[in-house]
Homo-oligomer: 337 residues x 2
Amino acid sequence: MVISMKRIGKNVIKCEKGVSVISFASVVGDKEAKGPLGAYFDKSFSDPYLGEESFEKAESLMQKEALNLALSKGNLKGESVDMIFAGDLLNQCISSSFSARSIDAAYLGQYGACSTMAQTLIMGALAVDSGAADIAAAVTSSHFCTAERQFRLPLEYGGQRSPSAQWTATASGAVILGKSGKVKIKRLCPGKIIDLGVKDMANMGAAMAPAAANTLTEFFTDTKERPENYDAVFTGDLGTVGSELLCEIMKENGFNLAPNHRDCGVMIYDIKTQDVHAGGSGCGCSASVLCSYILKEMEKGNLKRVLFCATGALMSTTSSQQGESIPGICHLVELSL
Amino acid sequence: MVISMKRIGKNVIKCEKGVSVISFASVVGDKEAKGPLGAYFDKSFSDPYLGEESFEKAESLMQKEALNLALSKGNLKGESVDMIFAGDLLNQCISSSFSARSIDAAYLGQYGACSTMAQTLIMGALAVDSGAADIAAAVTSSHFCTAERQFRLPLEYGGQRSPSAQWTATASGAVILGKSGKVKIKRLCPGKIIDLGVKDMANMGAAMAPAAANTLTEFFTDTKERPENYDAVFTGDLGTVGSELLCEIMKENGFNLAPNHRDCGVMIYDIKTQDVHAGGSGCGCSASVLCSYILKEMEKGNLKRVLFCATGALMSTTSSQQGESIPGICHLVELSL
């Protein structure tokens, strides 16, 4: 039988042929460039407009920059890409569709809220491992100014933020997947929607932590792995509140996650000095941490085997205004040398 | 080499192992039930609220009904599904995420605007053919009342609609994909974004027709097929204006599409009497026509070989307010007995 992928247990998919990271790039805003990972990012913009007329056009340009940079780092042109998997937080995912407009490749828009980077990697890995694509791109972005005015309040209003709130990162990450490259995608665990009834839009960490715990527990159970088998288990973006909750739930589930756990939302800013409350969030947060620190440290050999688990909150302002709770999701990608 | 899928030319993907439609279902509103395809739909609701408190909750319930109905027609339970690919027009795709919340399966949100049904089928086919999933679900929906107030004007305003405007169908379609079933998915052609600069949000047909022409031309070129080799080439949803444009462009490209061309947006309503101007639109339009007329006529043997080409307009109200044009896309799925 010609099967390229194999299911392990109920939830895990193994890439049988092998999928590699050909190249990757990250582009961020000023605040992110001044954070602890500043030196790892490929490019930063101090102007939140990136010279464009609106924040939305700026976000789209930032995503395009990340994709073009990843392509050029891999010595590839846009037309070498067979399929682009991209998504973002904006209504109808316009950052992605307007960014991909100039590239001569099939476009498949993804929506996983802040879990989008892991979701696009899963889709890209599926396409490459199955032979549907020789080269696939996985891209996402977020922008503090577009997210604030769409999900919360006009920036000019200067609203107070609650201590559990997270700061949407102005950042984009792009990964080019193919058959050759040092870092490999080994196994995938696409997540299920978990909704325990959290309704507080200023506490996304609490809404997403149960989804992260569910995906990680299913992955560890199906593969018989343990957190300590990995150099690090990265989540993104639970922030400080969600991270603590995740480690608690995992302990109850029989896994000691805390020693190896790191959260992209906590890593991207200096929580104490950068006024971000519970940490970073937004599709671009975990995407830019993956496409800077994580993949660069893997290429250097300092990290050999990691889990990248991006989390998302699948609500909208409309659903929250109508009293609905926040459905959480977490998609997992296993990366190794 | 263990490759399950094969690329044909630059743009086409062939399912090597074979992907089948196990079952399908369509659920529609009152206007659609009273249209020419009324007898083909599985279920209809005369109350646009479906007994819920808001139109958004109603749309989500309609999508859930379609998925559950498709599962029960296939003698399957929710937990038999490995991966759900779903999407809709609402900001952050809430119809889909709230609908899939109750099902114990991995969820991967898709955004292709009105092309979403073809996009979810492509993703589902990729998952099943590669072995990543034994059973996958492809689901989408739209609702006239949620779309009008999100994209246009409050219903109470009673705005005049322009003659080229289309009517968002209140409809949902769900397809369950697996290894056994009469109708097979043979080849896929995920589309590229085509934007020729159309800016009129009341003329989506014109914005999407060039994308449909591009995908169809690439498919015919790569596979050496011709429109006349198919019992029908279904697009969705170009409406009357976009359909005429498509046939014109295809003629210029050397393909006589008109005799075999049918558009889901034109088929779902009686254009002359149902006051829908240029025809139907919305993710649920082509989805419900596929999951009623097309697949039922295929199962009866009256249609043996068809192309299903759903089209989408990847803009948002924000991008249009900022003067951007409308990026179009069209994804193609080849179905045969």
